[in-house]
Assembly symmetry: C2
């Protein structure tokens, strides 16, 4: 996907419709490019300005002296075709068209005209009707969203603009690091499949999350998705899962949300992990971005509260994951350290009597135990423990192991200190959540991805043999 490289790693960006007025989109985009310390050249384009935000401005793209890889377009819809023509002549490789007022309001003709002109010059088009693109490895933030996204390895593709930009802000508060955020809007040219084909080989991206209303080319999407999931986990939030939701999609982006059963089959066959809510999707993405891959072996739950263990067990069972008796050596190691009434089945209930040190020791023993492939640690804040000590203890143990060698997700349930502890763990790249069900659901996704990928591999092998 050499062709897609200028979208993620342009060496220079021209902003057509750049503005000196705060509050304007053409101002915000230039400001974000500067604030994010974009490594390439930035050329504001505005025939009425000499300088914008300290950068020399040009009247047209073709009048820019250096090479232009990407043009970001924010001028009104009727002017977009001529901008594309001008950029095409200049040799620009990709147009990021933020401007709305195309197919989504019945102007499919204008949108087709834009794509036709871009194709003439071999230029690819992202959008229109989008908020732009972020790619943190080259510090590119060509959006009018927040400027302070956190670097990381989650890729986020969104078909919805307003929701997407809002979630971009959410990732900052929730400290979810991203490699890329792509607003794809009307998908006049570049679609989810193109992005997946590129991102599957992108070393900076460990997991991709798509907010999806509908797919236009089902076959193309399916091929891209299965090739992607063979390499990395792909999480989808499918909007328009119900008949009513599908109707709402039609009046939103004009996409065909399609038949629920069709998507469900498509997702299953391609190994896509379907999240039921936005929160769940980002919970999963966080886990995938921090954790090593699940390599088999049993999942052990360690909890200091029986109730939390039960809730997690339910979530796992609902996701097809069953718990087995913990390995004998682990049981033998833990038994003398725990109260007599502790349960050493799975969940391992170390009881509410355990100290912070005792709890950390039990989780650590599970992580070190051979035969244990993954650990789900649940902690209820009690009078005899301090959640911040637990977080510190777990971080220290994991550091001593040289980092996590198997998946671990943690729930710390309680008051302010528990919320702090959740943040401490996440800062240390140990996925943590304030609710037991969320930690369990993330763990289920981590385990189920490996199985889903195996199913895809076998199916493709069978197809190859037939």
């Amino acid at each position: 996907m050499k062709e897609m490289e200028p979208l993620f790693k342009p060496r220079s960006v021209a902003v057509v419709g750049a503005s000196r007025h705060p509050g304007k989109i053409g101002y915000a985009v230039v400001k974000n490019l500067i604030a994010s310390k974009y490594e390439g050249k930035i050329y504001p384009v505005n025939p009425k300005a000499d300088e914008i935000l300290g950068l020399k401005a040009y009247p047209t793209v073709s009048s820019i002296p250096g090479e232009v890889d990407m043009v970001v377009v924010v001028v009104p819809a009727q002017f977009v075709p001529e901008v594309i023509e001008d950029a095409g002549k200049k040799g620009a490789k990709v147009a990021v068209i933020i401007t709305s007022g195309f197919k989504e309001i019945g102007r499919a003709d204008l949108e087709e005209e834009v794509v036709r002109r871009a194709r003439k010059y071999g230029m690819r088009v992202l959008g229109p009707n989008i908020f732009g693109i972020v790619y943190t490895p080259v510090k590119l933030n060509a959006t009018f969203g927040p400027s302070d996204v956190i670097e990381g390895s989650v890729g986020f593709i969104t078909q919805s603009g307003a929701l997407g930009i809002a979630l971009m802000g959410m990732t900052i508060v929730e400290k979810i690091g991203v490699s890329t955020i792509v607003s794809i809007g009307n998908k006049s040219d570049i679609d989810d499949a193109d992005l997946l084909n590129y991102l599957k080989d992108d070393e900076e991206t460990k997991v991709v999350l798509i907010y999806l209303e509908g797919v236009t080319d089902g076959k193309k999407f399916m091929e891209a998705a299965q090739n992607f999931t063979l390499r990395k986990p792909l999480i989808v939030i499918k909007a328009g899962k119900t008949a009513a939701g599908a109707k709402a999609v039609a009046s939103h982006t004009g996409s065909l949300a399609g038949n629920v059963a069709v998507y469900s089959t498509l997702f299953k066959e391609t190994g896509i992990l379907e999240a039921s809510t936005v929160e769940e999707a980002f919970d999963w993405a966080r886990a995938f971005s921090y954790l090593p891959q699940y390599e088999g072996g049993q999942l052990v739950i360690v909890t200091n509260g029986g109730g939390a263990g039960v809730l997690a067990t339910d979530v796992l069972a609902e996701n097809g994951i069953s718990l087995k008796t913990p390995p004998e050596p682990l049981v033998n190691e833990l038994r003398p350290k725990l109260p007599g009434f502790a349960s050493l089945k799975n969940p391992i209930d170390v009881t509410g009597m355990i100290s912070s040190e005792g709890y950390v020791e039990a989780v650590s023993a599970a992580l070190r135990s051979e035969g244990v492939g993954a650990v789900l640690a649940l902690y209820c804040e009690t009078a005899v423990t301090n959640p911040e000590d637990i977080a510190e203890g777990l971080i220290k143990e994991v550091n001593e192991m040289g980092g996590l060698k198997k998946p671990l997700t943690v729930a710390l349930i309680g008051g302010r200190k528990s919320y702090n502890a959740v943040e401490m763990l996440n800062n240390a790249r140990i996925p943590a959540y304030p609710m037991p069900e969320r930690a369990a659901s993330a763990m289920a996704a981590v385990i189920n991805y490996v199985e889903a990928r195996e199913r895809v591999r076998l199916r493709l092998q069978e197809l190859g043999n037939s």
Copy 2:
């Protein structure tokens, strides 16, 4: 339920096993009673102390000069029967037995002995194996949990101790006001049904939420639950919904989690609202505690982001709620104020171009519109709006209306300012959430409760006629 009154409104509390040593449960309980400014008398009982936390201590309950309504017991299990005997002779009306080491570790005999002795004196027993009880209207906090719970109208009953005490802390951080928190543990005497029978008439409690592992007396629970839901909403988190979860329940509290289908039928017949997660249960409880009752009329969604509208529509549809075209007068009022491409179907998509004022105005118009029975307001943080202005504007509008006359739930999705706005709204008793699905789910619960209650009423009427 006169008999249960001393559990919630004791005029005096003796703490048997009171301690001078911070870190001890017998210290924490006395400290919490003092810190919460409990309105009745507090008597520490400890034969080895003259004074505890500034209060005169007594060697036994029977040696206390004044009347004793409640005894809170924290001494080791083997001493509990004689404490009960002593308290019974003194005329105590209820024993709150925090001590563990009874049925849950195979000592059913000791537990039965305790109940037998209590019955002899007409004393009721809460527990054993619990963290205590909170009832904020009389500032009673007889627990070893956090001391700073927030006063409000949510009643929380929990069968799990460690999880329950952790969630007690969570309500403080999430600013969920409670009327009561009851840890019921082994339910040797007082069970969920007894509590529901009392709380259905308690004016300080608007909604009850139960963390439930299993019910012992199904018929009693069913009767209490249906009588309760005829008056107030009852939310249940059922732990042990799956076969694996039920097994985990057995090794936790020894309860029979029972057959999933049985509970599902029980909940449906009694009008119980079953939440799928702890987070969802508290989201619903917050909505019920703030909102007026749904009195019929259609639900209108107002959103500035199409995607958020689609996600909410899906959640509503999954909960059996369908959306109709908004009332004509509302459409006519809004049309001239919105961009031409705004959608005036339901969801009403006021578009991402709308200003903070325009958004507030649209939500307000929906709230004031006849024929609209409930409003779900979804907001995605954009560059042209400020979520804090939106929160302020909504609060002002609602105040001008003299408070909410119909249910409203709000989602504000975005960065730090959106999270602040969520908190501002919740402080003003307008239920708000950081995710669209959560606001939609809470609204669905508010509407579905009224229908569930009607079904219960009709079924009971039929039974009465047959």
